[in-house]
């Protein structure tokens, strides 16, 4: 159960890293550093998850060569829309993991969920979406 949920989280992190590679190219100089920092954070979570799954002797799913995006990314607005969607989706996967893990894994999950929620809020603010917060991130 624990390994399955962590593997789900790893798949979501792989997809997020791919998405940032696409959307970063459409951002302006003022917004790009936010996306760059977000991508680095997702890579860090991915690495932590691979280590953890190895320690559990569970299979760490590899990244896909490409992922289907929900909409074409053609400009700053569509790039930010994708960023919001990616962070909301990751938050959801981490939120589902929370009920299935304990100890250090729960700490990993709640911190990852919180970071996704914070990045989604930053992206909504940059996109001019109000309110920039949701009552129950990841649910």
């Amino acid at each position: 159960m624990t390994a399955e949920r962590l593997a789900d989280a790893l798949r979501a992190e792989h997809a997020a890293i791919y998405a940032y590679g696409v959307l970063g190219a459409r951002l302006d100089a003022a917004t790009l550093p936010v996306a760059t920092a977000a991508e680095a954070a997702h890579r860090q979570r991915r690495d932590a998850l691979i280590l953890r799954l190895n320690a559990l002797h569970a299979t760490a799913p590899p990244a896909e060569p490409a992922y289907a995006l929900p909409a074409p990314v053609t400009d700053r607005a569509s790039a930010l829309t994708l960023m919001i969607g990616v962070e909301e989706r990751c938050a959801g996967v981490w939120g589902q993991a929370l009920a299935a893990v304990s100890g250090d894994d729960r700490q990993l999950a709640v911190d990852a969920l919180t970071d996704c929620a914070v990045r989604a809020t930053r992206a909504r603010t940059l996109a001019g979406v109000t309110p920039a917060t949701v009552p129950f991130p990841g649910r």
Binding site: A91, G95, Q96, L98, A99, A100, V101, S102, G103, R106, Q107, A109, V110, D111, L113, T114, C116, A117, V118, A120, T121, R122, T125, T130, P131, A132, T133, V134, P135, F136, P137, G138, R139
Partner: protein, 165 residues
């Protein structure tokens, strides 16, 4: 260590289940004998202090928005989130919600001068930071069936800190 924690979770669940069972018996019995309900009180839920703190935080937002309606646009969604959290916590606690918690003061309703006072934004920001940290701690020690709700509340509070900063 993990086994021990699991054991505690199970035993707490068992206690909770027993409590719910007792409450059910008490409620059914109340039809025949009104005195029996009082003899089987539901034990206080460990989330009660967190519920009270959440109610107090909501009260501060209500008082601040009442005093400065111009802040409603910025603070309203945060106030609404705290209210939604409070309702979700009440549902989660169920019959274990103690009377003191459910009677927590609400500035909007009471208008009582001893209720929550309007707070400057810096004070709300400090309160949110503390509340986010508290929710994270509660999430880490709660039984697993409550972890998703508490983690979501912790995450929401962290986003409030971003908006208020």
């Amino acid at each position: 260590m993990r086994t021990g924690e699991k054991g505690r979770v199970h035993s707490r669940r068992a206690v909770l289940a027993a409590a719910v069972g007792l409450a059910g018996v008490a409620a059914t019995g109340a039809c025949d004998d009104p005195g029996s309900a009082a003899s089987h009180p539901v034990p206080p839920d460990p989330l009660n202090p967190f519920y009270r703190d959440t109610a107090a935080l909501l009260g501060r937002y209500e008082a601040t928005i009442a005093a400065q309606p111009g802040l409603a646009g910025r603070l309203g969604p945060i106030r609404d989130a705290h209210r939604a959290h409070l309702q979700a916590l009440a549902r989660e606690i169920g019959p274990g919600l103690d009377a003191q918690s459910s009677a927590a003061p609400s500035a909007g309703a009471s208008g009582d001068s001893t209720g929550p006072q309007p707070a400057p934004l810096t004070s709300l920001l400090a309160a949110e930071k503390q509340a986010a940290s508290a929710a994270r701690s509660v999430c880490l020690t709660a039984p697993s069936y409550r972890a998703a709700l508490l983690g979501s509340i912790a995450a929401a509070r962290a986003t409030h800190v971003v908006v208020l900063s």
